[in-house]
Amino acid sequence: MSTYIQNFIKFRPLLNELIMRDIKTKYRKSILGVFWTILNPLFMMVVLSVVFSNLFKFDIEYFPVYLLSGQLIFNFYNEATTSAMGAIIDNGPLIKKIYVPKYVFVLSRIFSSSINLLASFTALIFVMLAMRVELHYTVLLVPIPLFFIVFFSLGVGILLAAITVKFRDIMHLYSVFVTALMYLTPVIYPMSILPEWLEKIVLLNPITNILMMFRDVMMNNTVPSVSSILLAAVEVVVVMAAGLYVFYKRQDTFILDI
């Protein structure tokens, strides 16, 4: 165990450099550069809230904030897991030639998505201020749902990264899966429009629980219940354990399959 920790400390700088690289290459040669991390979710929200407040009328106060908060959580999950899935394959040439602990590549993808998450969060705060939504003290509890969604995505991402190396079909299948998952998460619609049987299914989705927690602290001035926190914690632990186990078992064969 201690050798794992030593190894992690040795490659901490690599994690930093990889995250920096992701951000640098993403915005290289664009004039606004890193500002796009905030502008992008803002523009997306404008488009979606114009579309949805005219096409479908949901009975929700501050619909743009409702939508943006849903998008923030779900888009992070989508971006983080999708990019983590390709982490091993994309860095194949490197893995073939230099010894590096392979989970570092997955971690770097998740963490650079997390930086985007923080930027989207800043955008959300701006929108809330602009719309004069009252900010409650419960906002200070926001690290709890954010922590859960980051580590839930890490667990899923590390699992996907490991199995995609062998089975490339997963890449194509997963994008369909994520689209389905989005409609099973109350990103756009309120829970109240769902018939009872569907509500049960939507509640089974771990992201729903985390998203509801997030909205509770951001908009509803509600402290998340102990049961929802426990449920999220158990789900994160299970997903992380499964991901780490599969990754650990498979990592030595990556190089033969890349």
């Binding site: 450099e17 990889l18 290459t25 490197l94 030639k97 010894y99 490339r168 190089i255």
Partner: protein, 245 residues
């Protein structure tokens, strides 16, 4: 147990599955499992290889193409895990398996210096202290803020060599990297490697030029089709190797 071997390779065998039997999709996997066609086609790149190196030795690996030299180096560097047997390495390894392997071609030379340092487990601050030395050795002062994709292969080789040989690693692995670059740069590299050897670095060196191996190494391993044909003093091995081909 008094054992001063810095690298000990113990009955190492390495098996590869041939590409023709590669299974890329779930469907293929199930069909082939049902038909029990999953790769019976194997290739042993290394076969029961054993040798030991003491600290300060310079070991040359010689042999024809496909004899398993690069596979052996990759196993020692920790990139590959052997199918059978084990390798024990005591110390820090600086791998030069392919020049520029760790480069991101969209980043500039100076950004790549830090990225490559990090790949070897060195922190940003540590790399700051080596930075000037790397720039000077690679002679790329005027191109340091140019993306590496615009570099010539010689420039990439210079930069990669300069980064890989910073500090005094315990073990330096060189896989035919000295065959690139011009004559003057090759000489400079030889000098740098010589200096490192004097400081006690252990060298693992692969080259097709038997003269280069003789010039740098004191021990040699001759591999043929994944088997050790001969292991011993460099001069003796080189002599027989020459007469064989």
């Amino acid at each position: 147990m008094e054992n001063m071997d810095i690298i000990s390779v113990d009955h190492v065998s390495m098996r590869f599955r041939l590409a023709s039997e590669k299974v890329d999709s779930l469907k293929e996997y199930f069909i082939k499992t049902l038909k029990s066609q999953i790769s019976t086609n194997e290739f042993w790149a290394l076969n029961d290889v054993s040798f030991q190196i003491q600290k300060g030795d310079a070991l040359g690996l010689i042999g024809l193409n496909g004899s398993g030299k690069s596979t052996m180096l990759k196993i020692i560097a920790g990139v590959l895990k052997p199918t059978k047997g084990s390798v024990a390495v005591r110390g820090e390894v600086a791998p030069l398996i392919e020049l520029g392997a760790g480069f991101d071609y969209d980043l500039t030379a100076s950004e790549n210096i830090f990225l490559n340092g990090a790949l070897m487990g060195r922190s940003h601050e540590e790399m700051e202290s080596y930075y000037d030395g790397i720039v000077e050795f690679s002679e790329l002062k005027d191109f340091i803020d140019v993306p590496v994709k615009n570099f010539s292969s010689g420039m990439i080789a210079r930069l990669a060599f300069a980064i890989a040989t910073i500090g005094t690693p315990d073990i330096l692995i060189c896989d035919e990297v000295l065959s690139v670059g011009d004559f003057r740069f090759q000489e400079k590299c030889h000098k740098r490697i010589g200096e490192m050897l004097e400081k006690g670095t252990t060298l693992l060196f692969v080259s097709h030029s038997i003269e280069q191996v003789e010039g740098l190494c004191n021990k040699a391993v001759w591999l043929e089709h994944g088997n050790v044909k001969m292991f011993g003093e460099c001069k003796e091995v080189a002599e027989i190797y020459r007469t064989a081909y």
